[in-house]
């Protein structure tokens, strides 16, 4: 384990960014934390988490995939991918680190999504333990430990210092290059105990996911409660777009005037035209669309991924839903634990 003082964190950032682009959570014009490319003068945010998740680094909201040039009866396919440079994301919380695993299970299985894979390969994740979780946090429901967030390197803030520990080969290499002072883990052990204690006091500490998981489809799909749960859903995409694990996208073509560009962009199962096909839309009402989102996270995804839930308890949807309807309310209503 290594350490540096909080005051010297900036010089560590300078060292990291000398070799790779570095992104850290920094406050924007509204005082909200957003991942910002580090440069001298960019200050680390004190907020618990960013409004948008770090999913964007690997799966951006809009992405050009390929281009076509059409001449007569010839269609030429143009590869417009650019070589990905190494980059580092600092300050990722335990929930969002776990979300990468959820995304990996979708994008890195056969057929591998080369766009996503390329960025995962070149990205280094430096996580930070959560000293002050929010009332909206419920990562522990899904077995995630806010005190041990993982990633390539983990950082803990304690007694005026930042403590660094590498978890992977990539992380070890980066950490070795930073020239930090070696130390024991006493302060980190104390911080972990403090976090464990705070997690127990959170309002959602007792929330359990036992009623959900693979094999529960028939039990949950036809429950009458879906109607009331979804009755005031606006059908907007806020929950899906702030979510670190939502992974659905739409693929479209754009006529540039000189050719065609195929791009993809995030889609939302809350939208009325989601997965619309030639025959129409498979989910005609908002009840069905609403149910789809939660069944996917709590039943279908774990069924297909060895029990891993598709929610990581980051709490963004709790904070941002315009009508304050969210996965916790769904779980409590259907799972019967209040």
């Amino acid at each position: 384990m290594f350490k540096c003082s909080m005051e010297s964190l900036n010089s560590v950032f300078a060292k990291i960014s000398a070799n790779a682009e570095l992104y850290i959570p920094a406050d924007n014009c509204d005082g909200k934390a957003v991942y910002t490319k580090w440069a001298e003068g960019v200050e680390l945010s004190n907020q618990l988490n960013t409004v948008k998740s770090p999913k964007d680094f690997f799966f951006p909201q809009v992405e050009d995939m390929m281009a076509f040039k059409v001449e007569g009866k010839n269609i030429e396919l143009i590869d417009i991918r650019k070589a990905q440079e190494d980059f580092v994301v600092f300050g990722v919380r335990a929930c969002d680190v776990k979300a990468f695993e959820v995304l990996d299970n979708v994008f890195l299985v056969d057929p591998v999504d080369s766009y996503y894979a390329e960025r995962r390969e070149h990205g280094i994740i430096i996580s930070v333990a959560c000293g002050r979780p929010s009332e909206t946090c419920f990562c522990q429901t899904f077995g995630i430990d806010a005190a041990n967030p993982g990633g390539d390197i983990t950082v803990w803030y304690a007694d005026g210092n930042a403590y660094w520990q590498s978890n992977t080969e990539k992380g070890e290499k980066l950490l070795a290059s930073l020239g930090l002072e070696s130390c024991d883990s006493a302060a980190v052990d104390a911080e972990k105990a403090k976090i464990a204690n705070i997690m127990k006091k959170l309002p959602l500490a007792e929330l359990k996911a036992d009623a959900f998981g693979g094999g529960k489809t028939m039990e949950l799909f036809n429950r009458p409660e879906w109607k009331a749960l979804s009755e005031s859903c606006l059908g907007c995409g806020t929950c899906t777009f702030v979510c670190p694990t939502c992974q659905c996208y739409d693929v479209k073509e754009f006529n540039t005037g000189k050719g065609v560009v195929r791009f993809r962009c995030w889609d939302s199962c809350m939208y009325s035209d989601f997965t619309k096909c030639a025959h129409g839309n498979p989910r005609l009402s908002q009840v069905e669309r609403f149910r789809q989102r939660f069944m996917h996270k709590l039943v279908y995804y774990p069924e297909n991924n060895n029990g891993l839930f598709g929610c990581v308890g980051c709490g963004r949807c709790l904070a941002k839903c315009p009508i304050s309807m969210n996965i916790v309310k769904v779980m409590k209503t259907l799972g019967g634990n209040a």
Partner: protein
């Protein structure tokens, strides 16, 4: 702090349900914490008594729900409306968006709603309890101390410049009737107008670049009730699920602002729900201010059936050459 208590609203809802005046009650349902209410339809006395909420967090405007609910629900609907909500209510009636006969509207006086983000900025994260009052009492998991915050210091932005405490529509009123207020709501617009075009462009560029196209502003907006929005319609030619560049970031919001111009009542729901805190209401408010100055003061929704200046030609109308200077130096 609200002058009228929850009990008064609960009693009213229960009595109207029990005497058969209404079959449904559109109200605010208790959340997981003390601040996250959800709009809900109540049909049952016990449910109302246990879960109906009326406090400083009841910002949600129910008017737009009436478009859908009057079509779907059996029987009459009781809707609670704050003064600003009644303007949306009237505007929707003007546009024939729901059947007035199916609604029983109860006006509720309002002292302004509070913003949880502003409370958190003072009290911090980890809120375990909030008790509303003139002084809002906030407890967190991090301290035994109860933090007291003056409700007036944490009002929602739209309530700081409230335009009316007067209900312009209701069947019955709970609490005292107020007046239309000579508000300072155009001060923010004046600040934008005082900028140079480049500064103003930079301001909107920065704000709108935050947009994630979740459509929450559109979907909550009582003036946006198209059955199929052009931005969703693949046949419209402008269908757009995500902004690919800064032009598209702006296009959605500017087109939307034009489309609701003259119909927007300035209820402020768009800015309240924006997950990225974009001050979207300023676009609409600029249009309102311009229309006021070009055509004389007009408040959308102040009465049912009024003709908005933009759809009401008169020979006295301002000439385009006079309008042209607006916003330029």
């Amino acid at each position: 702090m609200q002058k009228i208590t929850r009990d008064v609203l609960v009693e009213k809802a229960v009595s109207l349900l029990e005497n058969g005046t209404v079959a449904n009650v559109l109200g605010w349902r208790k959340g997981e914490f003390d601040y996250d209410i959800t709009p809900a339809v109540f049909t049952d006395k016990a449910d109302i008594e246990a879960n109906f909420v009326w406090n400083d967090f009841c910002g949600a405007n129910f008017s737009k729900y009436l478009v859908q609910k009057t079509r779907k629900l059996e029987g009459k609907i009781l809707v609670f409306l704050k003064p600003c909500d009644t303007y949306s209510f009237n505007q929707l009636l003007t546009e024939h968006r729901f059947d007035r006969e199916k609604v029983y509207a109860v006006g509720v006086s309002c002292e302004g709603m509070v913003d949880i983000d502003k409370i958190k900025a003072i009290a911090g994260d980890g809120i375990s309890k909030i008790v509303c009052g003139e002084m809002i009492e906030v407890s967190t998991v991090y301290s035994d101390e109860v933090i007291k915050i003056d409700a007036k210091d944490v009002l929602e932005g739209r309530c700081e410049s409230c335009k009316s405490k007067k209900h312009v529509a209701y069947d019955e009123l709970l609490g005292e009737e107020g007046d239309v207020i000579d508000s300072n709501r155009f001060d923010e617009v004046a600040k934008l107008e005082a900028m140079t075009p480049d500064e103003r462009f930079a301001f909107w560029q920065e704000q709108l670049s935050k947009c994630i196209r979740c459509n929450a502003c559109r979907d909550i907006c009582p003036a946006c009730t198209c059955e199929n929005c052009v931005f969703n319609n693949p046949n419209s030619g402008v269908e757009n699920k995500a902004a690919a560049n800064s032009f598209e970031e702006k296009m959605f919001h500017i087109i939307r602002a034009f489309h609701v111009a003259g119909r927007c009542t300035d209820c402020g729901e768009c800015s309240r729900v924006c997950p990225q805190n974009i001050p979207l209401h300023l676009l609409n408010r600029k249009f309102i201010k311009d229309m006021d100055s070009f055509y004389g003061e007009y408040q959308a929704g102040a009465e049912v059936g009024s003709r908005a200046p933009l759809v009401n030609y008169t020979t006295e109308d301002v000439e385009p050459c006079d309008v042209f200077e607006g916003g330029n130096e």
